[in-house]
C-alpha cells in the first residue's frame, strides 16, 4: 500500500512524464478560452447552454478514462460503469434537492404563525419532493441528504461499495470475458429497473430534477454557475488524468496490462490477480461516480433511463472509437462521439439532399454511428488514436 502511495505522488510523476504537462496545458488553455468567450463572464460568444454541454462533455471524458483504465488497460469489459456514474449523480442530487427544498420550505415558514418543528420541516420537504410522485414520506435512504459532506462521501462510498461487492463476487468465482460483460450489464439493468419503481425512494421514473439550482445560490444566474461547473469539471478531469496516467505508468499499471494480456501467466508469477482487478474496478467506479456527481448538476435532471444498459455500452464504444489502451484516446472518443451525436441528433446538421430523397441526420445518424462501430472494430481496432499513431510514426520517419 505504501508503495502505491509513493507511486502516485503527483510531483514525482509529473517530473518523470512531462507529456502530462502538455495535456494539462492544453486543457487549461481550452478552459480559459471558453471562459473568456462565455456568456456569463466573457465576451458573450458562447451561450450558457453550450457551456453546459462542454462541461458535461468533460465529465463524460472523465468516465471514459475510467472505462479505459478498466477495459483498455486491465481487459475487463465492464458494461456497467455508467451505473456508477449515475449513482454518483443520484447521491449528489439527493443533497441538492433536499437542501434546496428545505430553503424554500423555511422561507415559506416565515409567514406561518408558529415556528416549524424539525418534524414539520421534514414533513414539508417530504411532501414537496415526493408529493410529485404520489408519496409524502422521506425514505430512510434520505436520512443524511441534508448533510453535504456525508452525501459527498456517499458519492464515492455507495458506488464504490457496489463495485466492491459485485467485483468481489465476480472475480472470486473467476467470472471473466464475455460472461463478466453480461453480468455487469445485468447489474446495471437490475439497478435501473429498481430505480424505475416509483417506490424506490428516488422518485422512480421522474428521478431527481432541478439539480442545476444550487442551494443558497438562488440569486446567481445559471450563466455564472455553469462557468463554475465547467471549470470544476476541467480541473477534475485534469486530476483524474494525472491519477490515471500515474497508475498506468507505474508497476501497478504493468501488472494490469499483464492481466489484460494473459491473466493466468500473471497469476502464476505469484500476483493476486483478483485483488488487482478488484482494486481497479472499484477505483474506476469511484472515478465514474465523481464524474457523475459533476455531470448531473449541469444536466439538471437525473432519472433511471440514464443507467439503461445501452448507456454503458455507448461508453465502451466511445473508448473503442477513441482508441483503448491510450488515455487520450478515451478522451478523444468520448468528446468526439458524444458531441457529434448531440450535433447530429439535435437537428443542427442540415439535411443532405441526395438524388432519391433527403437524408435526415436525426433519422440516419444512429445508423451511421452503429455501422461506424463495425468499421472501427474491424479495420481500426486501435480506434482514432490508432490513426494518430500512424501519422506520428510516419512523421518520425
Amino acid at each position: 500500500m505504501t508503495k502505491l502511495i509513493k507511486h502516485t505522488i503527483i510531483v514525482q510523476h509529473l517530473l518523470r512524464h512531462p507529456s502530462i504537462l502538455i495535456f494539462l496545458g492544453l486543457l487549461s488553455l481550452f478552459t480559459i478560452t471558453i471562459v473568456l468567450l462565455s456568456e456569463g463572464v466573457g465576451v458573450d460568444l458562447v451561450p450558457t447552454s453550450f457551456i453546459k454541454t462542454l462541461g458535461k462533455t468533460l465529465c463524460l471524458c472523465m468516465v471514459a478514462i475510467a472505462m479505459d483504465l478498466v477495459w483498455g488497460f486491465c481487459g475487463i469489459l465492464s458494461l456497467g460503469h455508467f451505473a456508477f456514474f449515475a449513482l454518483g449523480g443520484y447521491m449528489i442530487g439527493m443533497w441538492l434537492m433536499f437542501a434546496r427544498t428545505k430553503i424554500i420550505v423555511l422561507q415559506a415558514a416565515q409567514n406561518a404563525p408558529l415556528p416549524m418543528s424539525l418534524d414539520e420541516v421534514n414533513d414539508a420537504v417530504g411532501t414537496q419532493i415526493f408529493g410529485v410522485v404520489g408519496g409524502a414520506d422521506i425514505p430512510v435512504i434520505w436520512t443524511f441528504a441534508d448533510i453535504f459532506w456525508v452525501q459527498i462521501g456517499f458519492v464515492f462510498l455507495i458506488p464504490g461499495l457496489l463495485a466492491f461487492i459485485f467485483g468481489w463476487f465476480a472475480f472470486r468465482s473467476r467470472v471473466n470475458g464475455v460472461y463478466l460483460s453480461i453480468l455487469t450489464q445485468a447489474m446495471t439493468l437490475a439497478l435501473s429497473l429498481y430505480l424505475f419503481q416509483n417506490d424506490s425512494g428516488l422518485r422512480g421514473n421522474n428521478g431527481l430534477s432541478g439539480l442545476q439550482n444550487i442551494p443558497g445560490l438562488d440569486d446567481t444566474p445559471q450563466a455564472i454557475i455553469s462557468i463554475w461547473f465547467f471549470i470544476a469539471s476541467a480541473v477534475t478531469l485534469g486530476l483524474v488524468y494525472i491519477v490515471a496516467h500515474s497508475i498506468v505508468h507505474s508497476k501497478l499499471g504493468n501488472i494490469l496490462t499483464g492481466i489484460r494480456d494473459n491473466e493466468d501467466r500473471v497469476r502464476f508469477l505469484g500476483y493476486n490477480v483478483e485483488s488487482y482487478k478488484l482494486f481497479i474496478f472499484v477505483l474506476t467506479a469511484c472515478i465514474a461516480a465523481l464524474a457523475g456527481a459533476l455531470y448531473y448538476p449541469q444536466a439538471g435532471i437525473i432519472n433511471p433511463a440514464e443507467l439503461a444498459p445501452v448507456a454503458s455500452i455507448y461508453l465502451a464504444v466511445w473508448v473503442a472509437i477513441g482508441g483503448r489502451g491510450r488515455l487520450y484516446g478515451a478522451i478523444v472518443g468520448a468528446a468526439f462521439v458524444s458531441l457529434l451525436s448531440s450535433y447530429f441528433t439535435g437537428g443542427h446538421a442540415p439535411d443532405l439532399a441526395l438524388g432519391l430523397g433527403t437524408l435526415r441526420w436525426t433519422e440516419w445518424w444512429l445508423v451511421l454511428l452503429g455501422l461506424s462501430f463495425v468499421v472501427v472494430t474491424l479495420y481500426a481496432p486501435k480506434g482514432m488514436s490508432g490513426i494518430v499513431d500512424r501519422f506520428v510514426i510516419k512523421g518520425n520517419k
Binding site: L26, G204, G346, T362
Partner: protein
C-alpha cells in the same frame, strides 16, 4: 509526441461546434419575425406522439402566416429535437430561450420532461404551453396547461363509473410513473370519500412497455368473485396498452362484464391495434376526432390535407390548437410578445373548442373545457356517449388533504401555491 495532435483535434472540433451553435443567422433575425419554439421529441420513444404535435403547430403557424401573420410580422417556428431525453429538454429549452430568443414555447409531452424544463423557463422567464393531460399538483407562472387536469378527466370518468355503470370495485392499473401514481392517489382518496372501502380498490403498477399481462388480467377478472361490479381505470401508457388489450380480448373480457376506461389511449394509440375485440371499452378526453362540429370538420380536413388521409387527430392536438390561438389573441391584445404582458393578456381569453362550447383561460393557467367520454368502436374511433359542460381545470386537487387548501391564482394573488387557510403564498417557484 502524441498528445498535441489529438488535443488540437478536440479543440478544432469544439471550435467548429461553437460556430454552429452560435452562427449569426440564428441571432440576427429576431426583429423581423416573431419566433415561437417547438420543443417536441422528433426521435426516441416519444417521437410518435410528439411529432404529431410539432406538425400541428407548424400547420397552425402556416395558417396564421397565410392570414397575414401576427402584429404585421411573420411567425417563424423554431423546431428543436430533445430526442425523448429528459435532460436534453432542459438544454434545448435554454437554447430556444437564449440562443433563438423565442417568445413562447409549445412543447413537452411527458411530465418528467416538463419537470425538467420548469427550472429553466422559470429562471429565464419563458412561456410554455403544455398540451397533454397531466397529474396536476403544479402551477408555474411560466406555464399554461392546455391539457386536462385530473378534475377534467379522471374525476368525471370516475363519476361516470360510479353513477352510470354502477361500478363498485375498482382496479386502478397504471404504468409506474408520476402521472398514474398521482392520478391514482387522487382517485383512491376520491373513491374512499365516495364510500368505496379500501379493500375494493385494487392498484397495480407495471413498467413501461410491459408485455406479460396474463396474470394481471386474471387477477382483475378474479375481483368479480366478490359479487361487485368491477371496473378498470387504466393509466397504462403507450405500447404496453397493446399487450394489455390483447390479453383482455384473449381472456374474453367484454366491456359489458368489466369495462376499462383509459386516460392515455386515444385515436393515435388505437391505430396500433385491432379494435374489434375492444368495442365498448372507454376513454375519457377533452376531445375526440368523432366530435360532430363544423370547426372540427374543418380542422380534420386541414390536417388530413396536410399530413395524409389516414392520419387521425387527438386530444393534445386540440389543446395545442386552443393554446396557440389563445396566445395569438393575447399577443394581439397586448400588442407585444413580451412574456409578462402576454401572460396578463392570457387571463380570460376565450376560444371555441373543437367539440363545441368555449374554452377559457383561467387565472390558474388552466383551461375550462368539456369532458367527453367515448366508447371504442371497431373502426378505431370513439363514439362520444357523454359530454359535460365546461369544467374549470384545477391545479391543486380538492381530494387530497394536503393540496385541498391550496389554490393557484396568478392574476390577482400572483401566486401559484396559495394556502387558503393560512392566507399566505407557500412559494412562487414551482415544485420540480
Amino acid at each position: 509526441m502524441l498528445y498535441p495532435v489529438s488535443v488540437h483535434r478536440i479543440f478544432a472540433i469544439m471550435v467548429v461546434f461553437i460556430g454552429t451553435y452560435c452562427s449569426p443567422d440564428v441571432r440576427a433575425t429576431a426583429s423581423e419575425t416573431i419566433k415561437i419554439g417547438v420543443l417536441h421529441s422528433l426521435s426516441g420513444t416519444m417521437a410518435i406522439s410528439e411529432t404529431t404535435l410539432k406538425d400541428t403547430i407548424l400547420m397552425l403557424v402556416d395558417e396564421l402566416n397565410d392570414e397575414g401573420g401576427l402584429l404585421g410580422k411573420n411567425v417563424e417556428a423554431v423546431v428543436v429535437d430533445p430526442a425523448s431525453d429528459w435532460p436534453l429538454f432542459a438544454e434545448k429549452a435554454r437554447e430556444l430561450l437564449t440562443v433563438h430568443n423565442v417568445d413562447v414555447i409549445f412543447g413537452n409531452w411527458t411530465s418528467v420532461s416538463r419537470k425538467s424544463v420548469l427550472p429553466v423557463i422559470e429562471e429565464l422567464n419563458g412561456l410554455l404551453f403544455y398540451p397533454v393531460q397531466y397529474e396536476g399538483e403544479e402551477s408555474s407562472r411560466n406555464v399554461f396547461y392546455t391539457g386536462a387536469a385530473p378534475n377534467q378527466q379522471a374525476i368525471p370518468a370516475t363519476n361516470y363509473y360510479l353513477d352510470e355503470l354502477g361500478v363498485e370495485k375498482f382496479a386502478l392499473l397504471g404504468t409506474d410513473y408520476v402521472y398514474p401514481r398521482t392520478t391514482n392517489k387522487i382517485l383512491e382518496q376520491y373513491l374512499k370519500d365516495k364510500g368505496i372501502p379500501g379493500s375494493d380498490i385494487f392498484v397495480n403498477y407495471t413498467p413501461f412497455g410491459h408485455s406479460d399481462w396474463s396474470k394481471i388480467v386474471a387477477d382483475v377478472v378474479a375481483l368479480g368473485a366478490q359479487g361487485k361490479k368491477v371496473g378498470v381505470i387504466s393509466t397504462i401508457n403507450g405500447d404496453a396498452n397493446v399487450g394489455f388489450y390483447k390479453e383482455l380480448a384473449a381472456a374474453g373480457v367484454s366491456a359489458d362484464d368489466i369495462p376499462v376506461i383509459a386516460f392515455s389511449v386515444g385515436e393515435e394509440e388505437l391505430s396500433g391495434l385491432d379494435t374489434t375485440n375492444l368495442v365498448g371499452h372507454l376513454a375519457a378526453w377533452n376531445y375526440f376526432q368523432s366530435a360532430d362540429t363544423d370547426a372540427n370538420t374543418t380542422f380534420i380536413a386541414a390536417w388530413k390535407n396536410r399530413m395524409g388521409g389516414n392520419r387521425v387527430t387527438n386530444d393534445p392536438m386540440e389543446a395545442h390548437y386552443i393554446g396557440f390561438n389563445m396566445w395569438v389573441q393575447a399577443v394581439t391584445d397586448a400588442g407585444t410578445t413580451d412574456v409578462d404582458e402576454v401572460r396578463d393578456a392570457m387571463y380570460g381569453q376565450t376560444f371555441p373548442n373543437l367539440t363545441g362550447g368555449t374554452a377559457q383561460m383561467l387565472s390558474n393557467h388552466h383551461l375550462s373545457k368539456p369532458v367527453l367520454i367515448g366508447e371504442i368502436q371497431d373502426d378505431g374511433q370513439f363514439d362520444i356517449i357523454s359530454q359535460t359542460e365546461e369544467v374549470p381545470g384545477d391545479a391543486w386537487t380538492n381530494y387530497l388533504p394536503e393540496s385541498s387548501v391550496l389554490i393557484s391564482d396568478w392574476k390577482t394573488l400572483g401566486c401559484g401555491m396559495y394556502n387558503t387557510e393560512t392566507k399566505s403564498c407557500v412559494q412562487i417557484k414551482s415544485i420540480y
